[in-house]
Amino acid sequence: MPEPRLISSYLDVLAAQLPASIVEELGDGLAETHRSYLRQGLAPDLAARSAVAEFGDPELIVAGFARVNPARRAARRLLGVGPAVGACWVAALVTSRAWAVPLPARMLAGLVLAAVIALLATSALGTRYRLAARTGAMGLFGIIALDASLITGVALAGVPLTWVLGLAMAASAARICYAARALRPALAR
């Protein structure tokens, strides 16, 4: 039996914002609801209208999935631990007197950090699934690049290893591991 136009239009709205596997699951549920109304004796059009009404506003469904998006969850966690990791690095660089980095490098690091925070915040607060997933994944890549650059930078510069610096490097390494593990579900379709 062909899918009523109202139901296919409803699924098109969802497909524009959600991954195919989620839309497939919703489509099966919607078709089952439609069939249930047909079994109760409703005309096909009325059954389709009733099924769509029972499913609710598609934007609410999209917003619900955006809230459980793995990238969004990872972005929230990273934003939560960010200040602590940042404080470790500030303390490590100040106590190691390693601030004598050329101004352009400092400006570049600041810009990258601001961009990563903006991406993670967009993902963490986003109510649109794809936007939250994309910005979250980009933010995760950014965190990995930033932390890897910090660790490599202090190692190459020969900054003496203190316990504060060791703590900052360990925090960054842990954050790299977390971001790398979160990337797979974040990129899943």
Partner: protein
């Protein structure tokens, strides 16, 4: 599931069916349910089952809710407050 909720509450708990899917995803991420695909009538269908952790969480939440409900009922009606199980 939504239909069962609707029927068991005499239609008073009438949630939009679509809202259950994000909730299922959240429970799956928390390890409380597990989902798998099957084919029913030529159409792929995702089915969910409680995990052992989900079973324990459900029992715990049921007991918590019954305790809470009994406590509020006792407070409103002035009866004895039952001891928690």
């Amino acid at each position: 599931m939504i239909e069962a909720l609707r029927q068991s509450t005499g239609g008073r708990l009438d949630l939009p069916t679509g809202t259950i899917y994000p909730a299922l995803r959240r429970l799956e991420q928390a390890g409380l349910i597990t989902g798998s695909w099957s084919v029913v009538g030529g159409r792929r269908r995702r089915e969910y089952r409680l995990t052992p952790a989900g079973d324990r969480a459900l029992s715990g939440r049921r007991a918590d809710w019954r305790d809470f409900s009994a406590m509020v009922t006792a407070a409103l009606e002035g009866g004895p407050c039952p001891n928690p199980a």
